[in-house]
Amino acid sequence: MADLNEGRIDLPRSRARLIAFALTAALLFTILGGRLFQMQVLNGTLYADRAVAARTVELALKAPRGLIFDRTGRPIAVNVPSWTVEAIPADLPVDARARDVVLARVASSTGSRAATLRQRLNAFHGSPYDQVPLLRGITRDQALLLSEHASAIPGIVVQVDPVRQYLDEAGKVDGSLLAHVLGYTGPVSQGQLTSLAEHGYLPDDSIGKDGVEASYEAILRGTYGSQQVERDASGRPMKVISTTTQAIPGRNLMLTIDARLQRLATDALTWGMRAAGVKQGVTIVMNPQTGEILAMVSLPSYDDNAFAGGISTAAYSAYLRNPNQPLRNHAIADIYPPGSTFKLVTGTAALQEGVTTPTQLWPTYGCYQIPGAPSGQCLFDWNRAGFGPLNVQQAFFRSSDTFFYQMAVHLGIDRLAKWAYTYGFGKPTGIKLPGEASGIIASTEWAQSQGRPNVFTGELAQAGIGQNVIAVTPLQLANAYAALANGGRLMRPMIVKGETDRSGKLRKAYPPAMIRKLSASASTMQILRFGAREVVTSGHAFNIRDVPLPGALSGKTGTAEFGTKHKDGSLPFHSWFVGYLPSRPGATDATLEVLTFSYSATVPGNVSTEVVKYFFQKYFKVQHDYRLDPRTLSLLGGN
């Protein structure tokens, strides 16, 4: 090439500067290339890992909650899909008019009002990529309709989530039959979440809040799995990369409850309460041999389905305002004076502690002079005439108060308390239900905790007949009589029979558990069982004896007057009846025990006996109706 620059007359060219420029350029290219090599080839994995980590989140894979069946395999707590219409603001049309068209289409497909939807959408102030719930609980058909027209409603999605549904014995949706046993599930509260988060609970998670749902939460919930999900820059999950751990479905439970019995017991109690003007009532049906609870009714009840879908504040506060506390399971959470039913404990203690022999006769009185108290300060018998001399068995079936006053005074409070504890009173039975109360059993220690040296003798005497300083839960009482019925084994009441497969077939039975073998002798128990039988044949429960039953019914009544006085100055009547019998003809052991407690009756007399009678009539399909009107019972049901 010829020298092109020989004619140049302007600036001279500098070869040195050109070389310097070229070298600088070469150096810069080397730096860029070298840095690329370092980042991509040498440290590529590090950056790639960082990139993946930054755009990957671990999302929980929810496990389906375990189902709950009754003891016959009927499903009573199931999961049903619940459809929710949600809006993703970022995907909705930007133009306000186009947006209104979308909302109007949603409204017309779901029979709701567009204005309501718009209001809910406008009330939301989070990320535009969040899903804003507009309408919960739409029907399956509506959900399908919306899905079919998805292209006409941009920004609208239908989310399906499982919610709990509670059924009755006929498979109908009924949240009140077993509300207190099953409880309900509800959203995890913010307060709980802090402690539950480490157990894998999510902010939008639900948790068992009461009943079996709460006490068997760990089993029903299952184990959530987790997935690695790739997000886009706006945080929307885009692709499942891998499933780290599979979700393990919750295990299914079979209750000891028989939903049909629950229905019978509920109907019987409902009738008795209405007939006697009773506001609260409890019926417990159990197998005294195993401690299995066959029915547990606490009235008034509530609708746990209302909770499953998220209860409204108004409905919830209405439940809270109700003076009869429908949300409480009165069978286990509330304590009442057991009245004469407690004579089981006093009788056992008197025999075992040698206060009396089985045949020893004690005088009874119309009014028992409290030892050490000023003359005339006496405690009445319900029978103001007195019974004359009685032995312990006679006193039990006639329910003589003054006999048991004397036993208690001779025993002293601590020996009485010892036997109360032996029968399981004074502390929770340990049934797997939340909220069980302990009850009150008077003792020296108890008196001292109240700031006095000991109980007064009058209190001691009253303790002997289950009044004043004694309070028990209906379940404790039922369980104590179960021990009497089964020959002295205090069982732990069971509410869950075991685990089943998805169809409700029992796969793993939970074994019955004995709390203790009562230290009372067989003869002591026998005497009291005889007494209990006589209560039915010739004692206070004789009203029930005409009902044809498959085996010999034994039992004990009890009443107490306590609470808030009526306008006329009288106290409300509370009545107990607890009875047990072999459930099949020819069986020798009692396998069915029914306890009923009616609280706050407006009429005197033992409503509970009538309720139990009615239950037996239904249970054993007795054709004739032997029920009496509780209002005409007068004081027959005395103690």
Partner: protein, 379 residues
């Protein structure tokens, strides 16, 4: 067709075409083609589809067509017409920049473009190439006065006014490109290295003041450049995502149109200033090196043309364009590989933008003209 047209074609055939630098055209075309493909690939979203269809790519191709037309027009005209028009060009640049400050449209907070008949016209992009022409023309006229301080001061004033106007947009990136062009062209023109070093020392001494004058977001960028992983979720989020994308490329990349960081929207302004992250993520080290090699070849070619230019004007235009390309490449690629702070400087020929494409191809056309008109002409 008349006689004039015949003359033009004859001219081309007889002298120009033989001198035409095919290599320059080849490297430019390869880089532009590379850019079109990467722009298309960068538009892919998470669904594996180009976001908004191929309309963007069609637009790019339209600009490329216009750009190459201008390239050939500029190549076929003797570049000395630039000397004649230096003063009008300079005044035109200043007017445009002032106009831009007054009526420019806001883009990411900075007023960067004027919309004419619906087409966004980025004044600062065009002004870079025009200022190279202006400076080349002025410096080549200095002749024996080139070693004086007045050369440096004069050039600084000439360049300083548009630099200030661009800085006020605010467009720090383009302002820095102006400064780089100024320094490189002064150096190559034969200006006094002593005076330059002295002035450079003064500038370095004033650096702390300059840092204080930076806007908050610019200081945050500086902070992230020094330590990107100190605040990966906050101020440095975009840079960290870009670094991760580049590193993820490995040897061969994740494949064209398959970069996950890109598709999932983690890369900021991926079709413009951060386009190289897509190159690095999808084509890996090999692809990045290929791109750098094409630029290196282009630069080499420009230097060859500059050295062989018939006069200082041609040389100076070549040095100016070379320094502009080198500086933009260094800053644009450097910021996504963590060796330069983040500044809004486009990657020449590859970052999407009509004004940039047209002005760059115009510049390349002038270079071709320099080449063509440097041949010793035999009539």
């Amino acid at each position: 067709m008349g006689a004039a047209a015949t003359t033009f074609v004859d001219n081309v055939r007889e002298r120009a075409w033989r001198a035409f630098d095919w290599q320059l055209l080849l490297y430019v075309a390869l880089i532009v083609g590379f850019g079109v493909v990467m722009g298309y690939s960068a538009s892919f979203n998470e669904a594996g589809q180009p976001e908004g269809g191929i309309s963007q790519t069609v637009k790019t191709l339209l600009w490329v067509g216009i750009g190459f037309t201008i390239f050939f027009v500029a190549a076929s005209i003797d570049y000395h017409w630039l000397t004649t028009f230096t003063a009008p060009i300079y005044i035109g640049v200043l007017l445009l920049l002032v106009l831009n400050l007054v009526i420019g449209r806001s883009l990411n907070g900075a007023t960067l473009s004027i919309s004419v008949a619906g087409l966004d016209f980025q004044v600062s992009e065009v002004s870079k190439v025009l200022m190279i022409v202006v400076l080349a023309s002025w410096l080549s006229g200095r002749r024996e006065k080139i070693g004086r301080l007045s050369t440096i001061v004069g050039a600084a004033i000439l360049m300083g006014i548009p630099t200030f106007l661009v800085f006020r947009q605010p467009d720090l990136g383009t302002a820095l490109v102006f400064v780089a062009i100024l320094v490189a062209m002064l150096f190559m023109s034969g200006a006094s290295i002593g005076w330059m070093a002295l002035l450079a020392g003064g500038v370095v001494a004033a650096a702390p003041v300059a840092v204080n004058a930076l806007a908050a977001y610019q200081r945050a960028r500086l902070f992230c450049f020094l330590n990107p992983y100190a605040d990966p979720q906050g101020a440095c989020y975009q840079l960290v995502q870009a670094l991760n994308a580049v590193g993820s490329g490995g040897w061969f990349g994740q494949g064209l149109t398959a970069g996950r960081q890109n598709q999932l929207g983690y890369l900021p302004v991926q079709t413009t200033d951060f386009i190289f992250t897509v190159v690095a993520e999808e084509l890996g080290f090999v692809g990045g090196l290929l791109m750098l090699s094409l630029f290196a070849l282009l630069l080499w070619r420009i230097l060859v043309i500059g050295w062989g230019a018939r006069d200082a004007l041609g040389s100076m235009v070549a040095w100016g364009l070379a320094s502009m390309l080198l500086f933009q490449l260094l800053v644009n690629v450097g910021m996504v590989i963590g060796i330069m702070p983040v500044t809004g400087i486009p990657l020449p020929f590859i970052t999407y933008g009509g004004s940039s494409m047209i002005s760059l191809l115009f510049g390349m056309g002038i270079l071709e003209s320099v080449r063509v008109h440097s041949r010793k002409q035999t009539f």
